[in-house]
């Protein structure tokens, strides 16, 4: 028996084999075209110019044929260009930076908890354990009404928070892009848990005096993945309306939703959800082509609501004392994993390079026909994307996705650091993560970004963006004053 090759050289050989295979398959068209072109050129050179002219004259064209061919070509070209979907550009976006007066260090959170839940030391213990392992930092923020002992969640306070977050983000967006309020054609606001009358989109229209023929939408109740649902909606609207600007505002208003009871499954969101919001400007105008930051490539939405367990895993209900809270079930991670698998099954063929798709197809055929015991091939998404923005739902979510997609520490750094600095800001967390990558100077022209969001329902939504121009640091944004401190090491358990 020949001696087993040592692992090192084995893995190196495998690596080169894999690289060679990928290069071959991904550039198969180039690799076959090049010899053909070479052959044709050599043939032409061999024939000489006189021979070519003779060949040309023998073709006997008449005027009608030429005109018909020309019209055919123009017709096909026009149909092609008309039916191509409009390119959607992300011109720029702005994230809300909470004021330092809203800061909630761990110790303050625990002390307030202790004073509010004074008859339930077990619940306080539970919250402390959650906070220690949460991956949050000491600078996350809660709205002013929640700082009171006990919290004072009036509707006025909720509106106040909405105004603070949304208007700050919008002002910042106007400043960055030079957009005039009168130029907004489509407005989409998504906020899952606060839905007053008139809606938050009406609030924005009132504040900025937007046009009376604006197409406004307000999405509520759609959870943390509503941000990408709004982007999808904006994309569809921009296909129908030419030459338009769309503003998408993603936020979550914490004030009315702070759980004031003792049920443990419902106390979890209190520990993780924090104040945040983002405003995004999308456009299909050709004039934005130069200055837009990103181009929207794909949006893939997956809904597992048909399954009862998935439907109930994030459920808003009343506890035994009649207090309303959001209950998270214990199978949340498993269901998230399932939803992700569904999503990437649809996403895979759209974004993966040919080499990965071929491997996946071969393994699939092999498993079906030859041996079901073959391990399923997990496509390497790192080849399709340079950057990953995983919704900062919690440490467990990021860990789970890192494991499933086999991502390195650097790939999930944006998500982990956003969770540390801003907490779980729900639908806007993806934009904080994107801003982190830009602030670090890692975003280059041509880079592809994958944003993944999970939400109640249970939904898994993905968006794929392609970077339109290299983004130079330093940039203005929520990370401006602290980016140099990051990345930080987040211990497994923080000692309080």
């Amino acid at each position: 028996m020949p001696p087993m090759l040592p692992d090192f050289s084995n893995s190196v050989k495998l690596k080169y084999v894999k690289l060679g295979y990928q290069y071959l398959v991904n550039h198969i068209i180039t690799l076959t075209l090049v010899p053909i072109m070479l052959g044709v050129s050599i043939e032409i050179l061999r024939l000489g110019p006189q021979e070519i002219l003779n060949l040309w004259n023998s073709l006997h064209f008449n005027l009608v044929q030429i005109l018909c061919s020309a019209f055919l070509i123009i017709f096909v070209a026009t149909v092609y260009f008309m039916s191509k979907p409009r390119t959607i550009y992300l011109v720029d976006y702005a994230c809300f930076k909470p004021p330092v007066t809203c800061r909630v260090p761990f110790a303050t959170f625990m002390e307030h908890s202790r004073l509010i839940l004074k008859n339930n030391p077990k619940s306080v213990e539970f919250q402390m354990r959650i906070l220690e392992r949460s991956g949050l930092g000491e600078e996350t923020c809660l709205p002013p009404a929640i700082h009171y002992i006990p919290p004072k969640p009036t509707m006025e306070a909720a509106r106040g928070e909405a105004e603070l977050v949304i208007f700050s983000a919008m002002d910042s967006l106007f400043k960055k892009t030079g957009l005039k309020p009168k130029d907004i054609d489509i407005l989409i606001v998504n906020c899952s848990l606060f839905s007053p009358t008139p809606s938050l989109s009406a609030m924005v229209i009132n504040k900025y005096k937007l046009r009376s023929n604006i197409k406004s939408f307000n999405l509520s109740g759609m959870g943390c993945s509503a941000g990408l649902i709004s982007i999808d909606l904006a994309r569809d609207l921009l296909q129908v309306h030419p030459n338009s600007n769309a503003v998408v505002v993603s936020t979550e208003i914490i004030t009315p939703n702070y759980y004031q009871g003792n049920e443990r499954a419902m106390l979890l969101p209190n520990c993780l959800f924090r104040m945040g919001g983002a405003a995004i400007l999308l456009s299909n105008r050709r004039s934005e082509r130069r200055r837009a930051k990103y181009r929207l490539v794909h949006v893939v939405r997956t809904h597992k609501g048909a399954d009862d367990k998935a439907y109930r895993c994030v459920f808003e209900e009343e506890d035994k004392e009649g207090k309303v809270g959001i209950s998270l079930s214990k199978d949340l991670m498993a269901i998230a994993g399932e939803a992700l698998k569904s999503n990437i099954t649809t996403m895979g063929p759209l974004v993966l390079p040919a080499s990965e798709q071929l491997l996946f197809l071969l393994t699939l055929i092999g498993r079906k026909i030859f041996n079901p015991k073959w391990k399923p091939y997990i496509p390497d998404f790192k080849q399709a994307f340079e950057h990953f923005c995983i919704h900062a739902g919690g440490r467990a979510v990021i860990d789970e996705l890192q494991k499933n997609l086999q991502l390195s520490t650097e790939h999930v750094e944006a998500s982990r650091m956003t969770l540390h600095r801003f907490g779980n800001t729900s639908s806007s967390s993806l934009w904080y993560e994107l801003n982190y990558i830009e602030s670090k100077g890692r975003m280059k022209k041509g880079d592809r970004v994958w944003q993944i969001a999970f939400g109640s329902g249970f939904k898994c939504n993905s968006a794929v963006w392609k970077c339109n121009k290299t983004i130079k640091t330093p940039i203005d944004g929520p990370w401006a004053d602290c980016i140099d401190r990051y990345p930080v090491h987040i211990p497994e358990i923080v000692k309080l």
């Binding site: 007066t101 800061r103 110790a107 303050t108 002390e111």
Partner: protein
């Protein structure tokens, strides 16, 4: 935090926290020195009153917003107490913050000040003490009370372990600077490391600080009788008259503080027949220490009159001279006594003997908001031992024309002694008819 019937007058209490805007870091610890630990059972309460013209521009949001940069500087006071393995208390600087209380009061500022109901001043500054849970006890509580006329009061509750009254008044003066968007430099708030044992041999026990039975994590000294607060003003002319009575035209007068305390000492002795206080404690600012580092730096000295001394036979000159010249600084002794037990023992200073605290130099009227000074500043103590305390505060400058400035005296004594001492004070010209 709950009082009896007076509660209904101060209403609409809302609690929250304010802390530093900057992260102090992980595992940052401040170790109080032995002298600080000796004062841990005492609490300072200072209440600043502002008229409505100043208060109008002070919204709660604005006050809170300016407190964050202030606490960046004083992040040590935002921590919480822990005990080391040996049981020595220290502060973990975890940015937990100071408690912030908003309240409303149903009367006008003028009505309040006219009432002179010294006991009800405790409604304007939180009476919360450290413990029984050290983890969740804030060393500092701030209460902003709105009066019906638009005036406000700011009540500071300050755990004495953090620092002496001079540190506390400087703390508030720095808040004033923050409100005016000025920079803060002093004091330098660097967390102190664990003090190393000095290793000197056994010393005498201090007289100014007395041990109590272990109080565990509930830091309040035990009292055998109910302590009551009584305050009165001594005008400049009263002071002049007093000095003249004691010293005559002599140029050798003791400073006003000592003369005043001598008279009060005599009065207290009169109301405690058989238990006259032969030993008193004097607390004065340390002239050599420039308020550079937050902590307990005031001089604590004992004045012993000797056992064969008879209080009623002694005249004021002797008492005043004793107070001025015969004080023995006991700070080192107190420090040693604490360190002997590695900082675990429980001592108390205020009220261990009759204590006189000189707060004339606390600069409380230096605070300026919108160019105006506070109308009145009231200082009192909580956690005072049975022997009682006398605090001598300055009176706002500009209220007198010539001679010495007026003083504001606050006495904390057992209930029965307060009743009996008022006539004594009247006899000696300290208390005028309308004052009680």
């Amino acid at each position: 935090m709950g009082f009896a019937q007076e509660e209904s007058l101060v209403y609409d209490l809302r609690l929250s926290s304010v802390g530093p805007g900057r992260v102090s870091g992980t595992d940052v610890f401040h170790n109080p020195a032995g002298l600080d630990l000796a004062m841990k059972l005492h609490y300072l309460r200072m209440i600043y009153f502002f008229d409505s013209d100043v208060a109008q521009s002070l919204s709660i949001m604005h006050i809170k917003e300016r407190m964050f940069p202030w606490f960046n500087h004083y992040f040590i006071t935002c921590g919480r107490f822990r005990r080391s393995e040996t049981g020595r208390p220290f502060i973990k600087c975890n940015d937990c913050g100071a408690r912030f209380i908003e309240a409303k009061y149903d009367k006008t500022l003028d009505e309040w000040l006219e009432m002179k109901d010294w006991g009800s001043y405790k409604l304007l500054a939180s009476q919360q003490v450290i413990g029984p849970e050290l983890f969740f006890s804030p060393p500092i509580l701030l209460q902003v009370t709105h009066f019906r006329c638009g005036g406000i009061s700011l009540g500071l509750s300050w755990a004495h372990i953090l620092g002496d009254p001079f540190a506390a008044s400087e703390f508030i003066n720095n808040w004033g600077r923050c409100m005016n968007y000025l920079d803060l430099t002093k004091p330098i708030n660097i967390p102190r490391p664990i003090p190393r044992p000095t290793g000197t041999g056994p010393q005498m026990d201090p007289v100014c600080a007395k041990p109590v039975d272990p109080v565990g994590d509930h830091w309040i000294p035990p009292n055998n009788c109910k302590m009551v607060t009584f305050s009165f003003q001594v005008t400049g002319s009263q002071m002049n008259y007093l000095q003249a009575q004691i010293w005559g035209p002599s140029a050798d007068q003791t400073p006003p503080f000592e003369s005043l305390c001598a008279v009060i000492w005599h009065c207290v002795a009169q109301v405690r027949p058989g238990f006259e206080p032969n030993t008193v404690t004097i607390c004065k600012p340390d002239p050599s220490h420039g308020n550079d580092i937050i902590g307990n730096n005031q001089v604590i000295s004992k004045v012993e009159a000797g056992s064969e001394f008879s209080m009623s036979d002694t005249n004021f000159r002797v008492l005043a001279s004793m107070l001025a010249e015969q004080g023995i600084d006991e700070r080192n002794l107190i420090e040693e006594a604490m360190e002997k037990d590695e900082g675990v023992a429980d001592f108390y200073v205020y009220g261990a003997n009759l204590t006189f605290v000189d707060l004339e130099e606390t600069n409380v009227y230096e605070l300026e908001l919108k160019g105006k000074k506070p109308r009145f500043v009231y200082t009192t103590l909580q956690g005072v031992g049975d022997e009682g305390v006398v605090l001598v505060m300055p009176w706002p400058k500009g209220a007198n024309k010539n001679g010495s400035d007026g003083k504001f005296v606050t006495m904390i004594l057992p209930e029965d002694q307060i009743v009996k001492i008022k006539p004594e004070l009247k006899i000696n010209g300290l208390l005028l008819e309308g004052d009680f």
